[in-house]
Symmetry: C2
Subunit: 209 residues, 2 copies
DNA sequence: ATTATCTATAGATCTATAGATAATGC
DNA sequence: ATTATCTATAGATCTATAGATAATGC
């Protein structure tokens, strides 16, 4: 079979019109979110893209680095939008609502359910510390806003209640896991629910929309 | 080394005072919830119990059957309690609150965060269909109760809102994943939040406690 | 010379089976 | 005879590296 060696154009991409590295990321996103990280072999990813297993390593040094790239890409956008969202005028409730809305829209926007990557047990290992800390920053931003809301509204919140808005937004991940075909209004409803979890009435945020 | 073969009592259990099968389940529960299913080898489970890798197969035919056993054990209790919870008198809101409280208490009670097993991508495979359908039964019970509440309170709920109480209870899983040392009152607060997500005031359920 | 691909493979797993050994209980 | 354990191993992976080949761009 000496006539099938080495030509770049053998590939016959399954996911055309993308750079190879992006095709690999896209295939890995699908497989990692639906089958898991350890259960997905580099061979399976390559096959999905139309490459040989070893060719993956031209673009990524390790399998881990593929997952790391995907993880960081998901927090990037929201973390970049954060200063703007925190700076806005008016009620803290309106800012919290805006953050929850932006964040849940983000979780809904990706082709694959990338939020599900956060739930992969492998991600809790120290190899992904940079992602874990970026995500903790986001969680802290929620907590800070929640405290502002509590002060403004005169609420006494428990440790658990302080966590709830962030967790309610995360709910989008499991909702996506269990159903296909999502209502497009979801991010607004989730943001409402995130505030309702604190017992804050809607007239505190509707003005800001 | 012919003097170290075959004696039952070589084992030197790391988890004494349990039947071997239970020790295996306990070790697997810890490893599956913290490292994942595919990432956990039968060798690692055996080591954790103080057995040789192959000895696991005296108790479980396959690695999958270990996970299946764990999964079914988690829905069992709540599903058994369901008829009783649904039958009680009074407001539907009180029944929904009671279910949410029972369910979240269940998720909090286990030594290991067994709810995290639901989130393992491997569980979505058809090998675990019996578990998946048992869990859908639970989800349906929530949906039915939510509809009763909506009727009683005259609420018009969207598809997403109908899901929220169930999802808010699931929130316990990710809260447990991120923190050690949980407040014991959590299940009550979660149940409150599950109803608040629907916008139902507390005087609809406090009587039932 | 660099880039994108390929084939081949080393070395390290991993699951499950086969078959031996010893203790226990009839 | 049954139960609980062990050792050894088959066969199937899986990740990553080495080194070849061809196209592209200087």
């Amino acid at each position: 079979m000496s006539n099938t060696v080495g030509r770049p154009r053998l590939k016959q991409s399954q996911r055309p019109s993308m750079e190879a590295a992006d095709e690999i990321l896209d295939a890995a996103a699908e497989l990692f979110t639906t089958r898991g990280y350890s259960a997905t072999s580099t061979r399976r990813i390559a096959e999905s893209v139309g490459l040989q297993q070893a060719s993956i390593y031209h673009y990524f040094a390790t399998k881990q680095s593929i997952l790391r790239t995907l993880l960081l890409s998901t927090v990037e956008t929201t973390l970049a939008a954060l200063p703007g969202l925190l700076a806005s005028e008016g009620h803290a409730a309106a800012r919290l609502h805006a953050l929850a809305r932006f964040d849940s829209a983000q979780l809904l926007a990706s082709t694959w359910n990338l939020g599900a990557l956060y739930l992969l047990p492998e991600v809790r290992g120290s190899e992904f510390d940079d992602f874990t800390s970026a995500r903790r920053d986001l969680r802290d931003a929620y907590a800070t806003l929640v405290d502002e809301v509590a002060t403004e509204e005169g609420l006494a919140l428990s440790t658990v209640q302080r966590e709830l808005p962030f967790r309610v937004v995360e709910t989008v991940i499991s909702i996506r896991m269990d159903s296909d075909g999502l209502p497009p209004t979801l991010s607004g409803e989730i943001a409402d629910a995130a505030l309702r979890a604190l017992g804050v009435a809607s007239d505190r945020w509707v003005a800001a929309l």
